[in-house]
């Protein structure tokens, strides 16, 4: 039998060996390990509707005022009460990072960069990095309840719930897809009991042990075998916790995803969770739609924040809210806005240097150089805040070091 310690140790060592190249340092990483929830705003949000007020732009949305919530300026309007409500309640634990330069206007490339820092998307995203560092031995360290995540070399620690919660059909025989006698493939079904499953594992372990002694001694072959074993073990634990994953056939909206996420965190099934807010933000026509979309988004974020408080998870959890890009400062011919490569992001939760906005977007939403430690755009070591620094900073905010995966100084101004 291959021990749990054996395979976990070897996998971690492999990851360190194969992904190195940049020396690991703990400098600029938050002291306390925190869980990470990413809320990906799919489609490209128009930050001018909320966290990046530009009242002097000709294309600025309807607004009542640029309100200051602590030191965070926010564009507010009576038609978007949830935005106001969120910051009224949670500004002290929230921070905004401006001037993130994604340097692309392609959905998929921007998405990869905002998640992983890399245009290829080959690296792990911040959720995977954080989960791998803090909770490698959890049943599903990185739980992907939304559509989007990039796990790269850390695929083994991730798992998906499925667009319709179909993981449940794999976890619980009572939630399996129905079988019909009229089907040419009908059968009664088979679920190994405890003794039978033990016998199956003994057989598989013996085969795997022989494989490791031959083709699987080293390198990527060894990693595939170790991943295979680790996956079986984690899968077995998940089956024991099947009741916490909802049910098959449920379309997972934002609130459903939040519920699954918090349950998984609360029960130590996962450390990081990836949520996707697929609300239809890619609006090239009628930019006013962005207002109601963001109103819905911030309503969901308020519910998430309140749920974290109710479950006593807030201090241990960081939430990052970001889109792959923003939208142009001007309207196009269809009263919409197209893709823009400079954006802003919101973080809130434990360990956040809240009540402040860091960095800046210029008048035409261009990225302003910023001091990564202070967030000042006026003085200090002013540098371009690109997606690598954003991802490294997000990992650092959750107490994890991203340097084995991306060679960038982290943006740390928002670490409290």
């Amino acid at each position: 039998m291959i021990s749990r310690r054996q395979f976990l140790g070897s996998s971690a060592a492999l990851a360190a060996a194969t992904l190195g190249g940049v020396s690991t340092t703990r400098a600029n990483v938050a002291d306390k390990p925190r869980r990470l929830i990413t809320v990906f705003v799919d489609g490209g949000w128009d930050i001018a509707h909320s966290i990046d007020p530009k009242p002097n732009l000709v294309a600025t949305p309807d607004y009542d005022e640029v309100a200051m919530f602590e030191d965070i300026p926010v564009l507010t309007h009576s038609s978007r009460p949830n935005i106001t409500g969120f910051f009224e309640q949670y500004a002290p634990i929230s921070a905004v990072a401006h001037g993130i330069n994604v340097r692309s206007i392609s959905h998929k490339v921007c998405e990869r960069k905002m998640f992983t820092g890399l245009p290829s998307g080959a690296g792990p995203d911040a959720g995977a990095i954080v989960a791998n560092e803090h909770a490698r031995d959890y049943p599903m360290p990185y739980f992907v309840v939304g559509a989007t995540a990039y796990t790269g070399p850390l695929s083994v620690i991730s798992g998906r719930v499925g667009r319709q919660g179909q993981i449940n059909a794999l976890l619980d025989p009572n939630d399996a897809f129905p079988r019909f006698e009229q089907s040419p493939y009908f059968h009664e079904g088979f679920e190994a009991d405890g003794d039978e499953e033990s016998a199956i594992r003994a057989f598989l372990d013996a085969r795997l042990e022989r494989e490791r002694a031959t083709r699987g001694q080293w390198g990527s072959n060894r990693a595939r075998i170790d991943d295979f074993i680790e996956s079986m073990e984690k899968g077995a634990v998940l089956r024991d916790n099947a009741q916490y994953f909802g049910e098959t056939g449920t379309q997972l909206d934002l609130s459903d995803q939040v519920e699954l996420a918090l349950t998984a965190l609360e029960r130590d099934l996962a450390w990081s969770v990836g949520i996707t807010a697929s609300l239809g933000f890619d609006t090239h026509e009628g930019n006013d739609q962005q207002g109601q979309l963001q109103n819905a988004l911030f309503g969901g974020l308020s519910n998430l924040a309140q749920a974290l408080i109710d479950r006593d998870l807030l201090d241990d959890t960081v939430v990052a809210v970001f889109s792959e890009m923003s939208r142009t400062p001007a309207l196009n011919g269809n009263a919409g806005k197209d893709h823009h490569p400079v954006t802003s992001a919101l973080v809130f939760g434990g360990g956040v240097a809240g009540g402040a906005a860091y960095g800046a977007n210029g008048d035409n939403v261009e990225a302003m150089p910023v001091d990564f430690e202070t967030g000042s755009t006026d003085s200090g070591d002013l540098k371009s805040l690109d997606s690598t620094a954003w991802v490294a900073g997000l990992a650092a905010l959750a107490g994890a070091d991203a340097s084995p995966y991306i060679g960038a100084d982290p943006f740390t101004a928002f670490i409290g």
Binding site: T18, L57, R103, S104, I105, S106, V109, P139, M140, A147, T148, T151, S155, R160, R163, Q164, Q166, A169, L170, F177, F180, Q182, S183, Y185, H187, E188, G189, F190, A192, D195, A199, I200, A202, L204, R210, T214, R215, G216, W218, G219, S220, N221, A223, R224, D227, F228, S231, M232, R239, G249, Q251, D282, T283, H284, A330, G333, P341, V342, N364, E366
Partner: protein
């Protein structure tokens, strides 16, 4: 690309409303294959086993400073070839043949490319670049009001890949994928487009009049998938074409905003695109490429579908609409062009077209990123491809017989990280493997669930929206791109359940058949009979020739005995044993 529409298409497929047609019309029964039936015949001694494999790629593996990796044995090589080309195991007789004579392998490569399964492989290969295989929904309107919405979508969105498949399978020059004057449709797609040819099944039909002949560039599915937000003047489509067919992806380039451009002034932005060096680096070639696509409706699914046939998505009168937008005439990297027909012809003769195909084919079969394929390998394969008059099978043959494709393991720890000795099976390959071995398809007939529903059978392995394609490790061609090359908890759970379902089917159904596929001796319990059946199972399921007293067989026997002792039921004992063998590492990796 506008995502909103697709989110609507793919939203809320509650189980009560789901269906999907079977993934293909091909059978996948375990067949005995005649290696001499291939198109190029068998050249004895051409592969020569472990030491002297015929490497037609001429890649870097022969470098003197690199330690030679360990290669697959001939029968292991045949398993890998068979899985890669058709998603199934070789028959036992095929395996025996190459154990006796490794020189038969090239013949088997050719034979497998003529058989069932190869077509689906070609579709899957090309979907990595074209990304048209998405789950969506088309409304069930007359004359398709008795068909499930996403069964309609499956057919409509499959036409591009079906055309490519047909060209490759029928040994036509690969350039036809951008020059063909035909569509490939089935009955559903024909109804959607109003094609009344009297045919049935997937078939080739002439493209509608008024639309230039350009293979997949004339096909609707590619442009339904790659929509255009009209305000971006089809640049996204231009990049999709460039990326898929030339391996030239404009999106790889960083965009550096020039602070001197007033981004709030549309005229200033338009001027910059033709004068500013930072802009023209891409737009000088991207915009003329995009100008080919103005006649194709930008976001056709933004309007509610109210009837079939659909209005024509190609509007010739709009071909010159570029004049009122970018002002860039259609062109192809400096060469004059006029419409998608001339574009297809120009692409077909561009050296980047064949090189890109070589790169993508190799990357697909070696399970690596196209960008990681060395230029030497691309050059060598490109030469093979070109010299064959663009026969895709010649290109594939060279890959199958290359040294790189035979690698089993590193020979030392020093180089082990760079050597990929296991290739991960994708979910559709697992589905084919399981069906071939056991006769089982994991599917859900929606009309059995809901008798009043339209017709449609959901393939639970190949569906991403309701089934397990993404949980099993593949993408959905839309939000999840690419496949993972290892396992995680959800892929493990998927394989576990698939194995249990198939094993149960085998014992309850297949074992009772006149000619069982797996349990040829039935539900035997006597030790020697069990051992003998296990030997057959290792050979058939894993391609492993094991002795009755080997550790593998002894371990499997111990498993069987333990299961029988636990339940006292031979049927459960065989279900348990088969489940274990179908959950083995060798099922998921080849």
């Amino acid at each position: 690309m506008k995502r909103t529409t697709w989110m609507i298409w793919t939203a809320a497929l509650a189980l009560a409303g789901c269906s999907e047609g079977p993934a293909g019309g091909e059978g996948s029964g375990a067949s005995e294959t005649d290696p001499g039936s291939g198109t190029t015949g068998t050249s004895e001694g051409e592969t020569g086993g472990e030491e002297t494999g015929a490497d037609e790629t001429g890649g870097e593996s022969t470098g003197e400073t690199e330690p030679e990796p360990e290669y697959l044995s001939p029968d292991e090589h045949l398993v890998r070839i068979s899985m890669a080309l058709r998603g199934t195991r070789p028959s036992r007789s095929d395996l025996d043949a190459v154990r006796q004579d490794p020189g038969l392998i090239p013949g088997f490569v050719d034979a497998y490319m003529e058989g069932p399964g190869f077509g689906e492989t070609i579709r899957d290969l090309h979907n990595d670049a074209l990304l048209t295989s998405v789950d969506g929904q088309f409304p069930a309107l007359a004359p398709l009001d008795d068909v499930q919405p996403f069964a309609i979508s499956d057919s409509v969105m499959d036409t591009t890949l079906r055309l490519v498949e047909r060209i490759v399978v029928e040994d036509r020059p690969y350039s036809e994928i951008v020059t063909a004057d035909t569509w490939v449709v089935d009955d559903i797609a024909a109804a959607v487009y109003g094609i009344d040819d009297g045919g049935s099944g997937w078939r080739e039909v002439p493209i509608p009049s008024g639309r230039p002949a350009a293979g997949i560039l004339s096909d609707n599915a590619f442009f339904l998938r790659h929509e255009s937000a009209n305000s971006n003047f089809h640049r996204g489509r231009a990049n999709a074409v460039s990326s898929a067919l030339l391996c030239l992806d404009y999106e790889d380039n960083n965009i550096e905003l020039d602070e001197g451009i007033d981004l709030t002034d549309a005229d200033a932005v338009a001027t910059a695109l033709t004068t500013n060096p930072a802009c023209i680096a891409c737009h000088d070639t991207l915009d003329p490429l995009a100008s080919h696509f103005f006649a194709i409706v930008g976001n056709p699914m933004s309007n509610q579908i109210t009837e079939y046939p659909l209005p024509d998505l190609y509007i010739p009168q709009r071909e010159d609409d570029w004049m009122d937008s970018t002002g860039r005439a259609p062109g192809f990297y400096g060469e004059e062009s006029s419409d998608i027909g001339t574009l297809g012809a120009l692409i077909s003769t561009d050296p980047r077209f064949t090189a890109c195909a070589a790169r993508r084919f190799y990357a697909y079969f070696l399970r690596t990123d196209p960008g990681d394929v060395s230029s030497d390998t691309v050059d060598t394969l490109d030469a093979v491809f070109t010299e064959s008059d663009l026969q895709a099978k010649a290109l594939i043959r060279a890959i199958m017989l290359s040294d790189e494709f035979r690698i089993a393991a590193a020979s030392s720890e020093d180089s082990a990280d760079e050597v990929q000795g296991y290739l991960r099976a994708r979910p559709f390959q697992l589905a084919r493997t399981i069906e071939d071995l056991t006769g089982f398809r994991w599917e859900l007939d929606v009309q059995l669930l809901q008798p009043d529903a339209g017709a449609g059978v959901l393939d639970l392995v190949r569906s991403s929206s309701i089934g397990f394609q993404v949980l099993g490790g593949s993408g959905d061609s839309f939000t999840v791109l690419g496949s993972i090359d290892t396992t995680n908890a959800t892929t493990s759970l998927f394989v576990r359940q698939l194995a249990a379902e198939a094993s149960s089917f085998v014992v309850e159904q297949d074992a009772m058949a006149d000619e069982p596929r797996l349990l040829s001796s039935g539900l035997v319990t006597e030790q020697e009979a069990v051992r003998a059946q296990l030997v057959e199972l290792f050979d058939r399921i894993h391609g492993e020739a094991v002795e009755p007293d080997s550790e593998d067989v002894s371990d499997a026997l111990a498993l069987f005995d333990a299961a029988l002792a636990a339940s006292g039921d031979p049927a459960r004992a065989w279900k348990t044993t088969l489940t274990a063998m179908l959950r083995d590492l060798g099922i998921l990796f080849y």
